[in-house]
């Protein structure tokens, strides 16, 4: 493997995403096609470096560091797809900050990269890998739901004030954003359920359920599942208005983030 590729660091793609975000912000002031093009090139370069980094370093998703980088990677694909597919909407303005936030937290977690908390999550174990994959995809669903919810709240605020987006950030329609949120959460819930059940079974068989069920990660994931259940109930049975559902989805994503970084020594106060 050539040396330069091995030298790709988190800062490389983090900076690419940051510059792409700066250009997207610039487009709000100067709506020039060249800025959009440059932003997309930088975003694509960031994704390329990000992919290289993950394939060369292979950080395990069992750690907060690995999980956050993997989640940011999937969201970066989502960002590029959305930016190309919805060229008129300010997609990047909402997705890139989430990616940058995840990378920033991962950067803080970097010193403990080599210390996975639970072996059962290890990629070496096939069921552990499946469990990790399900939880990662559930996290992607929640993140997409949170992004859609943020856009929904802004769009609903505009409509409440009876404003049209003249020369401002263009957003998808309220209906589309609600559907996006609904689909993301509906997809994430079964994934989280299966991931959680697999995790419980693995914990019981390999690591002693009695010793580990009190871990922050396990309890947090169970809590997240309960919140998801409540969210589904409120949407379909209690017909809660879209604005409140959007707020709840954002709160759920915050809880998911806590679960992702929970179990990490710095969260528990062990070190770094």
């Amino acid at each position: 493997m050539p040396v330069p590729l091995q030298n790709v660091t988190l800062a490389c793609f983090g900076l690419s995403y940051l510059l792409a975000f700066a250009l997207e912000l610039g487009r709000l002031r100067w709506p020039r096609p060249s800025l959009r093009f440059a932003g997309l090139i930088l975003g694509a370069a960031g994704l390329f470096a990000h992919t290289l980094f993950l394939s060369i370093r292979q950080p395990t998703p069992a750690t907060a560091y690995g999980a956050l980088l993997a989640l940011a990677w999937v969201l970066a694909i989502f960002y590029l797809y959305g930016s190309l597919h919805h060229a008129r909407q300010a997609w990047a303005i909402f997705v890139l900050p989430v990616i940058l936030g995840l990378l920033a937290i991962a950067f803080v977690a970097v010193s403990t990269e080599e210390s996975p908390e639970l072996d059962l999550n290890s990629g070496a174990h096939i069921w552990g890998a499946i469990h990790g994959l399900f939880l990662l995809l559930a996290a992607v669903g929640v993140s997409v739901g949170a992004v859609a919810s943020t856009m929904y709240l802004i769009q609903a605020r505009r409509l409440r004030k009876k404003l049209l987006p003249l020369g401002q950030i263009k957003l998808l329609s309220l209906d589309r954003l609600e559907a996006m949120n609904r689909r993301a959460v509906n997809l994430a819930f079964p994934l989280l359920t299966v991931g959680l059940l697999l995790g419980g079974v693995l914990l019981r068989h390999y690591h002693g359920f009695a010793d580990n069920w009190m871990s922050v990660k396990f309890l947090g994931t169970v809590g997240l599942w309960v919140v998801f259940l409540a969210l589904t109930y409120l949407r379909y049975a209690a017909t809660l208005p879209g604005r409140r559902l959007a707020l709840l989805t954002i709160l759920t994503s915050a809880l998911m983030l806590l679960v992702l970084i929970a179990g990490h020594p710095f969260v528990r106060g062990d070190s770094p």
Binding site: R160, L164, G167, S173
Partner: protein, 424 residues
């Protein structure tokens, strides 16, 4: 450049006069053919409801086509005295004409700044003239330039942001809530004139179903027949509202037909989480404005729509300065390109001619020295001649290019042709 843009628009001529001076296609054809053959010039005639303009390009040095000639010509075609036409006309010359055309195409000179039709109308007028063989290098280049400016202004500024007709603004609001309409139901309440206009815009969205209700069943049936909708009895208004996604209301009722209490009690509980958009363009209003929450129900009345119209125009006015800067930049670019294009062939001809002379002198010399020179010596001699030629031509070519930038290259080109014996 010998270019004139002469005409009148909504600022200089009242609508009655603009009507008299307007061209239908047959008249336009006659005018373009006549003008181009009579004056031996390139001609384009733009006739819209807000302006009638002639763009005329002649060879440099020929007598320019001016306002007097234009007034006579327009008067003759429309049987109006030229003296009545002259005061209405404005005239833009050369760079100012390029600038004017760019501003017109970019809709900076329109009655409603930023409207999107004028660039298309201009393109049509140019293509019309081109088909009749009335355009040439100047006006063809000018059209491409003007359309490029219009595109830049449209994409790099907010000059064409939003809509300014009440019906279009209403649809803009609807689009903020929904973007697919095949599964949506539109409920039309009342049968006002405004409703029919707005309904036309909504119909273009291809909604799944249109319901029409009115106190008069006959009127409901009439409107339903016009839009392919389904008439429903006035007594089922609450049920229909519970089913609808978009309600368009324009009754002539003296007081609100849907107070908040009635809506909260009879409609909202039956709607689930679906959002309802109410376009209340009745005066006085049909829906209690307190129903609006921007989430489950969005009520937009005529004042909201008019306010957005003003806001849109304000936003467009803000974009005027950057748009004018783009026009200025592009006009300069066009003038530079045009002048360069004019002196380009002369420079090329000069180079070819001097190349020919060099070969004529160098060929016999190298022939005479054949066998006495090494390949390196031969190459050195050829390089020296080429260098001499380049140094000799550098000053005249630079002077010509500099004069081209200023638009004053014609005399220099003529002098160069005479001095170097080039064919004109």
């Amino acid at each position: 450049m010998n270019l004139r843009a002469i005409g009148c628009n909504f600022r200089t001529a009242a609508v009655e006069m603009r009507e008299k001076l307007a061209f239908d296609p047959a008249k336009q054809e006659r005018a373009v053919v006549d003008l181009s053959s009579r004056f031996g010039c390139e001609v384009v005639l733009l006739s819209t409801c807000n302006r009638v303009e002639l763009y005329v390009a002649r060879q440099s040095g020929e007598q320019p086509f001016d306002t007097g000639l234009a007034a006579e010509f327009l008067g003759e075609i429309h049987s109006v005295p030229a003296s009545a036409v002259v005061p209405l006309l404005y005239e833009h010359v050369d760079d100012a004409a390029v600038r004017h055309l760019s501003r017109v195409a970019a809709s900076l000179d329109s009655l409603i700044v930023g409207e999107g039709q004028i660039a298309g109308q201009m393109k049509k007028a140019f293509e019309f003239a081109k088909k009749l063989g009335a355009t040439g290098p100047m006006l063809n280049a000018l059209l491409a330039h003007s359309l490029r400016v219009a595109k830049r202004v449209r994409t790099e500024t907010t000059i064409s942001a939003g809509h300014v007709s009440v019906s279009s603004v209403a649809v803009d609001y609807v689009r903020q809530v929904f973007d697919t309409f095949r599964d949506k139901t539109i409920l039309v309440i009342g049968a006002g004139k405004m409703a029919r206009l707005t309904l036309k815009h909504l119909e273009a969205l291809q909604p799944g179903k249109i319901l029409v209700t009115n106190r008069s069943p006959e009127k409901a049936a009439e409107v339903a027949a016009l839009c392919g909708g389904q008439p429903i009895p006035w007594g089922q208004l609450d049920d229909a509202l519970a089913k609808a996604d978009i309600a368009l209301s324009t009754t002539g009722a003296g007081e609100p037909i849907m107070p908040k209490e009635r809506f909260d009690e009879k409609v909202l509980p039956h709607r689930g989480t679906r959002t309802l958009v109410v376009l209340d363009i009745a005066v006085p209003r049909d829906f209690d404005p307190d129903i609006h929450d921007g989430d489950r129900v969005c009520v937009f009345n005529i004042d909201d729509l008019a306010r957005v119209r003003e806001q849109t125009l304000g936003e467009r006015r803000k974009a005027l300065a950057p748009a004018e800067a783009i026009v200025t930049e592009e006009v300069k670019k066009f003038a530079d390109d045009w002048n360069r294009r004019k002196s380009g062939p002369a420079i090329q001809q000069l180079r070819v001619e001097v190349d020919r002379v060099r070969a004529e002198v160098l060929g016999p010399l190298l022939g005479k020295l054949n066998g006495k020179l090494t390949p390196t010596d031969r190459e050195s001699i050829e390089r020296a001649f080429r260098l001499f030629q380049n140094k000799l031509l550098h000053a005249p070519i630079a002077a010509l290019q500099e004069a081209s930038k200023e638009g004053e290259s014609r005399k220099l080109v003529e002098a160069m042709r005479t001095l170097f014996g080039l064919k004109g």
